[in-house]
Symmetry: C2
Amino acid sequence: MSRVVITVMPKQGVLDPQGQAVQGALARLGFSGVEDVRVGKRIELSVTGDDPAAAAREMCERLLANALIEDYRVEVGS
Amino acid sequence: MSRVVITVMPKQGVLDPQGQAVQGALARLGFSGVEDVRVGKRIELSVTGDDPAAAAREMCERLLANALIEDYRVEVGS
């Protein structure tokens, strides 16, 4: 059983409304000098099988990421 | 200007409905052997100032994380 971390972020150049909302809220709270906020997902899961990285990439392609607008990264731990 | 990565995850022991939904959806897609799915947020931002880590921790306390049910981690890059 491997612990896998999947990170899904909006692609560079794609509008990120959630990031914009966070940036605006931080400015209203008085945090100045905050720029280029991007908000994505971090998914941690345990996977059995011979090739957890390949399984996780397939999960991203089929469910967890939208390849049109998001990039994903898979890291396999112990 | 420092690039900061903030990770916000549900605390251990706190119910994670989004993780449960992902786990159910993966099972229905035929991914067997997936357990203990946790879904959190990854927030990337650029911050000016002398102590970007302290600023980011304050952002978490005031806006980005719910300390009752979420843990956060701050990493400062270059």
